[in-house]
Structure formats: C-alpha cells, structure tokens
Amino acid sequence: MSTLDSQELTVEDAKRQRVRARGLLLKLAGIAVLLAMWQAGVTFLDVPTYILPAPMQVWAALKSGLFVPLDSPTGFYIPIAGTLANAAMGFVIGSIFGLLIGSLMAEFRSVETVLMPYAFALQTLPKVAIAPLIVIWFGFGNGSKIAMAALLAFFPLMVNSFTGIRNTEPERIDLMRSLSASRLEIYARVKLPSAAPFIFAGLDMAAVYALLGTIVAEFLGAQRGIGVTIVQAQAVTDVAGVFAALIILGALGMGLHLIIRSIKRRIVHWDERRR
C-alpha cells in the first residue's frame, strides 16, 4: 500500500471520529436537557413523589441498590443474577428450538404445511397472555421463568431462520447440486451460513424477548428477580425504586443487544446486506 493511501485513510478516520464525537456530545446534551426539564417540572409543579419522583430521587434509589456489596439482600445484584440466569437459559432453549423448527419448515414442505397454521396462530396471539398457564404448569420456581423466556425467544428464531434459509440464492444451491452435494451438505454449508444475517437478527430480538418473558413470569410470583423488585417497590409506592429497576432492565436489554451485535460482526463479517 502506498503512503498516500494510508494518509488518506487517517484523514478519513479523523473525520469519522469528529462526526462520532459530535454525535455523542449531542446525545449527552439531549439527556441533560431532558433531566433538567424533568427535575424542574417536578419541583415547580409540585408533583407528588408517589406519582413521579424527581431524577435525584431515582438516582438515590439506583445508588442504594448498586453501591452495595454484591451479596447485599437489598442490592440489585441478586435479582439481576436471578433474572439474567433464567432469561439466558430460556434464550438458549428457545433459540435452539426456533432454529430447529424454522430449519425443518424451510427444508421440508410437508413440515411447513403442517406447522405453518399453528405458527401463524401463535404469532398473532399476545404471548404474555400465556404466562398464567405457564405458571400453572411449571410452578413459581425458575421453571416458569425459563419456559416463558424460551417461548418468547422461540418465535423470532423460527421465523428468521425459515425466511433466511428460503432466501438462499438459488445459484448457490445450483452450485452445490452441480457438485453432487447431499441435502445435509447443502443445508450446513450453504443455506445455514446464507441465513446467518437473518438468524442473528432473530437472536437479537430473542434476547430482549427472553428478558421480557422472564420479567412477566416474575410478576406472577417469584422468589427473586428484577420483576420481583419492581412488584415489591410498587407495593410500597416506592416509585423511585420502580424507576431504578426499569433503568436497570433497560441497561440489561441494551447490554444483551450489544453483545449479540459484536458476536454477529465477528461471525458474519461478510454480511451482504451491509456491503
């Protein structure tokens, strides 16, 4: 590579960095304005704390849950660990089944014909409405949380792997057929990797849905978890505590999204839709 090229590259990089820094500054300014308006509104309009707490009170609630030892019974860490463990387990189970069923439906017309009506019916059903049933079947322990998370994680994986596999470029399949590749070889070596961008989009959704499913199941009764923290704070009209738990949930969801995106970038480095 010539020195000219590398110089141009650094100029480009510097420009991109400036644009990114400006964006970050704007976002921070936006947050600051929002918080200031919130604080001012609560103070000047005299809104009672049990309706809307001021940002400083929410911050205090966050601090009291976060700036404690990891094993503190009043801290956020034990509920976070409980919720995350169940959501992760449900995510893995739901994703595996979703990928499996989606693949079978894409590969075999007969499976598609039989399962598609159920998939449609369940897809249109608000799945959190199933939560009470899940609790009856799996009890108030971890089982119902994992089952609910798995149920919600299942659908995006099923739909996206089905769509991704069916969207495989026909020329790629012709290529494999011209090499006398077996059906399994065509699936594993061409269709599955071709569907990878879709599958990762499904995983991204599934991670957030798994968290949602766990929380809903926790609302209906659980020993520990962020859902329990929210219900407990609500019971004593600790609205600042509810806000603090919601902020924690938001951060967890964002964290999961970022983790999956970074894994995706490493694996699907060739993503055709981005190039």
């Binding site: 470029e169 020329e171 790629r172 012709d174 290529l175 494999m176 057929r177 011209s178 090499l179 006398s180 590749a181 077996s182 070889e185 070596r189 061409v190 990797p193 990878a196 699907v268 480095h269 060739w270 055709e272 190039r275």
Partner: protein, 262 residues
C-alpha cells in the same frame, strides 16, 4: 470416481440428439424451451453457443450439467447417459457465486470437500490458483476481490476436481469490456494448458469467435441450432491482431447475419 470408457474414434465426448425441454409455468401453461436440439462436441474442443436472450442456451447448459432433466431426446457425456451432476463436468455460473464466508482457497477447494467422493487430497489446486493469477490471494475473502478475480476463482473451483468438461454460462457478462478481454485471453491460456472440453454460452459474438474452435448459433425460443461455424484462426489469439484477421471479420459478420435473420 466415474469409470470413463475410452472414446471410440469418431465418437463425441458430448452428444445431444433431438433434446427437447418443456416447462410448465405456475399458471399451468406449457412453454417449449428447446426443440430438437442436436449438438456434438469432440474431446478437447472449445465450442461456443450464441443466441438471443431467452433462447434456451442456459436451459441446455443446465440439462448438460445434470441440474434439470430433459423432456425428450438423448444426451450423453463420455458415452454415459446424463442422469444427474457428474464429477466429469465443472460448471461456471453467470455470477461467480463464491461463498462469501469462505476464503479464496476454501472456495476453490470446495468441490473436494463435498459430494460422494469428498476428502480428496487438494492436489494441484495451488497450481490452478497460480495458473489463474490468484497466488497471494488465497486467504482473501471474495468481497476483497475485483469482479474479474472473483470469476477467475470460480473457474479454478470448476477445475478443482479435474473434470474433462467445463460448462460456462456467460461467465464474463457482468464484467467491463477490458477485464472481459483480459479474461478471454486467460481462459484461452488455461484451456490450452489443461486441454479441457469447453462449452461456453455467451451473448458476445466477438468473444465466441475469439475463443472457439466452433461457434453454434441458436434460434429464438424454442431453441434449435441454426448454424455451426468452424473457427480456424491461429492460436494463441490476442486482441491486438486477431480482431483484424480477415477470417475473424468474415465470421463475426456471418454470425451476426444469421442472428439477425433468426
């Protein structure tokens, strides 16, 4: 590996007699794509098939490659009736169709890792890559390559199993004119070194005359062979002098007039 009987004198490596193909559209309509197609190609011959869009050239190539069955007629490769894909046939598609998650080396050796006879030792692939001018690009991904290089890698892949026949479906159609000429010269060189039997489908009269021993001209749908031109221009041909050869000028003119009348 397929047992290949030695060819009798005068027998053709590829022989198609009265091959026809009828499609059914989704609305139940019958479309006649090929009708009474007769093509014979000798071992080591470079043959081009030119014809208007939609005349069934690609359909014929897909039937030869074993990707689609013929509706009628008789089709044999090296004395065997074509009933499916054969390791004796390498296919180069319109687009390079490299798998974007594999490196150039992994793409070109793919034929050695799939199919009933997988796990063959990758003999000669390095030499193939060298022949195609891809040395040093083995570990690059397809999106890091130019269109011309991608198609060269696709040709290498088609040659990986050392097939006797190379079927090429407008492989250079998407490339710019200069890259196309360069690849034509390279394909000629690869063909002269490897002595494969090549059937090239193309829209370009210039390309067909430049590369071929014979140019077959097809009619609009349903496709039939209208004319069969022998090209005896001296080899190696090049774009500096060959296009000025009187035979080249006469042939391109004659092929064009057959296509215009069709």
């Amino acid at each position: 590996m397929l047992s290949v009987p030695l060819l009798e004198k005068g027998e053709f490596l590829i022989a198609a007699s009265s091959v026809g193909k009828t499609y059914s559209t989704t609305s139940g309509e019958k479309v006649l794509a090929l009708e009474d197609l007769n093509v014979s190609i000798a071992d080591g011959e470079f043959v081009s098939l030119v014809g208007p869009s939609g005349c069934g050239k690609t359909t014929f190539l897909r039937i030869l490659a074993g990707l689609e069955p013929a509706s009628g007629g008789r089709l044999s490769i090296a004395g065997h009736v074509v009933s499916g894909p054969s390791p004796d046939v390498g296919v180069v598609f319109q687009s390079a169709t490299l798998l974007p998650w594999l490196t150039v080396a992994q793409n070109t050796t793919l034929p050695l890792r799939v199919g009933p006879a997988r796990d063959r030792a990758p003999t000669g692939v390095q030499a193939l890559l060298e022949m195609a001018g891809l040395t040093g690009f083995e570990n690059k991904y397809p999106y890091e390559l130019s269109g011309g290089m991608q198609q060269r890698a696709a040709i290498c892949r088609a040659l990986a199993r050392a097939p006797r026949i190379l079927l090429m479906d407008e492989p250079f159609g998407a490339l710019d004119a200069l890259t196309r000429e360069r690849l034509n010269v390279e394909l000629q060189r690869i063909w002269q070194v490897s002595r494969k039997t090549v059937l090239l489908i193309t829209h370009s009269i210039a390309e067909s005359v430049f590369l071929s021993d014979r140019v077959l001209v097809m009619s609009p749908r349903p496709g039939r062979i209208l004319a069969d031109f022998a090209v005896t221009l001296p080899r190696p041909r090049d774009f500096a002098s060959t296009p000025e050869h009187p035979d080249y000028l006469r042939l391109t003119k004659e092929i064009r007039s057959v296509l215009d009348r069709a």
